[in-house]
């Protein structure tokens, strides 16, 4: 009992430490002061000004770019990765190993190497950098994670079901749609969510592939802001909102997952 209390206390202290920066953002989103850390009385001014489109046009643009890039990149990499995973799963050991190795490269490399290598690619090909190159770059580092989330589902699947579907007269495409896809769907969903997270949070790869034609995502916007010395105050309410929404979403997902497990 004492041990349990002690263990729980440890977890909560660690969580408190982890969350203290986020708490600071949330607390200071309710004040008007320009500099994070100054308190000039309670106010919801920042929240209202965040949604006045005219005032923070560039911030909203950056947010929209971030979200659309993440949605496109996550969708494409989920499709590409799932199809690839089905193919990889059917390969012989040697080819399987070779492709798994290539697949793990973007994961191990780290953002900066991926970013620089793609930067060199686009420069060498003479492609002008912008929205499309950022999306392609994000697909590059997201797809491996999708492959890795779908493969275990395929391994768990009973291979006979697919054969049975074929024997019973299904075409390979029908068998894919009615047998394989439902089996790997949870893996595809977790791969999609992971890709979405990675893409939204990415900074290093984006910086190297975004070019200099004025396109901004949240990360590059914040970086430029921070270099100028001060963070746009409206970022505080924006981050707080994102955080609370994600927290709520995760709670719901977790609650539902917990319920289905009990059944």
């Amino acid at each position: 009992m004492v041990k349990r209390l002690f263990a729980q206390a440890y977890l909560w202290v660690l969580l408190l430490l982890l969350y203290s920066p986020i708490l600071i953002i949330i607390i200071y989103s309710f004040t008007e002061a320009k500099v994070l850390g100054n308190w000039s009385g309670f106010s919801t001014h920042l929240y209202t000004s965040l949604f006045k489109n005219s005032v923070h046009h560039s911030l909203m643009n950056a947010l929209i770019n971030t979200v659309t890039i993440a949605l496109i990149a996550a969708t494409v990499s989920t499709l590409l990765g799932s199809i690839a995973a089905i193919g990889i799963f059917n390969l012989k050991a040697r080819a399987y190993k070779a492709i798994s190795f290539v697949n793990s490269i973007p994961i191990l490399n780290g953002d900066i190497i991926t970013g620089i290598s793609l930067f060199l690619l686009f420069v060498s090909l003479g492609v002008s950098q912008g929205y499309v190159t950022v999306v392609l770059a994000h697909i590059t580092f997201c797809t491996p994670y999708v492959v890795l989330s779908v493969l275990p589902r395929l391994k768990q699947m009973n291979p006979n079901i697919y054969e049975a579907a074929l024997d019973l007269g299904a075409t390979p495409l029908q068998a894919l749609r009615k047998v394989i896809v439902p089996e790997i769907l949870p893996g595809m969903i977790s791969g999609f969510m992971l890709a979405l997270t990675l893409s939204i949070d990415d900074f290093a790869v984006t910086v190297f592939t975004i070019g200099n034609e004025g396109l901004e995502t949240l990360s590059t916007y914040i970086y430029a802001d921070a270099r100028k010395g001060g963070l746009t105050p409206e970022l505080r309410p924006l981050s707080s909102i994102i955080f609370v929404v994600v927290l709520a979403l995760l709670m719901v997902i977790n609650y539902r997952a917990g319920r289905t497990k009990k059944k």
């Binding site: 349990r4 263990a7 729980q8 977890l11 660690l14 969580l15 430490l17 982890l18 969350y19 203290s20 920066p21 986020i22 953002i25 200071y28 199809i83 690839a84 193919g87 990889i88 059917n90 390969l91 492709i99 290539v102 490269i105 994961i107 191990l108 490399n109 780290g110 953002d111 900066i112 190497i113 991926t114 620089i116 793609l118 930067f119 060199l120 690619l121 060498s124 697909i139 590059t140 492959v147 890795l148 989330s149 275990p152 390979p172 977790s190 791969g191 992971l194 997270t197 949070d201 900074f203 290093a204 914040i222 970086y223 921070a226 963070l231 994102i242 955080f243 994600v246 927290l247 977790n254």
Partner: protein, 265 residues
């Protein structure tokens, strides 16, 4: 021809789009890194970029210093994260499955915003923005990446090994040191990969945490690329690539357990 048709209609051929994609966006770019690292501005073959690195104590110092900071960060992450992962995976000590989600959630706030908030926190507690702040900031940012893989391996671990060890007379310390810890090594290793390399290579974060006082290797690379010294910057990133290759050699053993991302949801 017949074999080609046979291949195209088999499910193996489904790898083709991805193979093409990886060739263009993963393999060729890496080759380009090698090409740029060994050429000069005019495209002539040269070792000058590497000579420059070895002749400049500043760059080497940054490199060694970054490795040092990364080692300390990784050790602190293991020291703080392992007990947390162990408690989280132990049903006697922690009944709520949702707790692990709480440890992953901070990753959803943009890393730069989080870093700036950490700076504000340090300011608030009047902690000087130096080496200590840098390491703590890195630990803040990367500890979820250490806790999660360790938690995963601990959770998948076959409990009967522990029971067997107990039956054979091991005390709790022995059980931990000789059974639990060795079995959780794959998780620790992938945690190390997720913390060690990013600490060296992440730029911007170190700048923000120390108000530009301390530079890590990632910043050096980025500055060179930004100042159009592409070849030198790329040579530096090739050096880092070799370091990554060296560290990942330690991590090749079990392809099946580690690295399987997803799972978060």
């Amino acid at each position: 021809m017949k074999r080609l048709i046979l291949f195209l209609s088999s499910r193996k051929s489904w790898t083709l789009p991805y193979i093409l994609f990886s060739a263009v966006f993963v393999v060729i770019p890496l080759l380009l890194i090698a090409v740029y690292a060994f050429t000069d501005d005019n495209g002539h073959l040269t070792f000058a970029n590497f000579e420059k690195f070895f002749e400049h104590p500043e760059a080497i110092n940054t490199f060694v210093y970054s490795i040092g900071i990364a080692i300390i960060t990784t050790v602190v992450c293991i020291a703080l994260g392992y007990p947390a992962a162990w408690i989280l995976s132990n049903s006697k000590l922690n009944r709520s499955r949702a707790m692990i989600v709480l440890f992953i959630l901070p990753m959803w706030v943009n890393i730069l915003v989080r870093t700036l908030a950490t700076v504000a926190l340090f300011d608030f507690c009047s902690i000087p923005l130096g080496e200590g702040a840098l390491i703590f900031g890195m630990v803040y940012n990367f500890i979820p990446f250490m806790i999660y893989p360790i938690y995963n391996t601990l959770q998948k671990m076959d409990q009967s090994y522990i029971e067997a060890a107990q039956d054979l007379g091991a005390n709790p310390v022995q059980v931990f040191l000789r059974v639990v810890f060795p079995l959780s090594m794959p998780g620790v290793m992938s945690g190390v990969m997720m913390v060690f390399m990013p600490t060296i290579s992440t730029f911007a974060i170190a700048e923000l945490l120390t108000m530009n006082n301390i530079k890590l290797f990632g910043t050096t690379i980025q500055e060179n690329i930004n100042n159009s010294m592409w070849n030198y910057g790329v040579a530096l990133s090739l050096i880092m690539l070799l370091l990554i290759a060296a560290t990942s050699l330690f991590n090749t053993d079990d392809k099946d357990n580690s690295n399987e991302g997803g799972g978060l949801w």
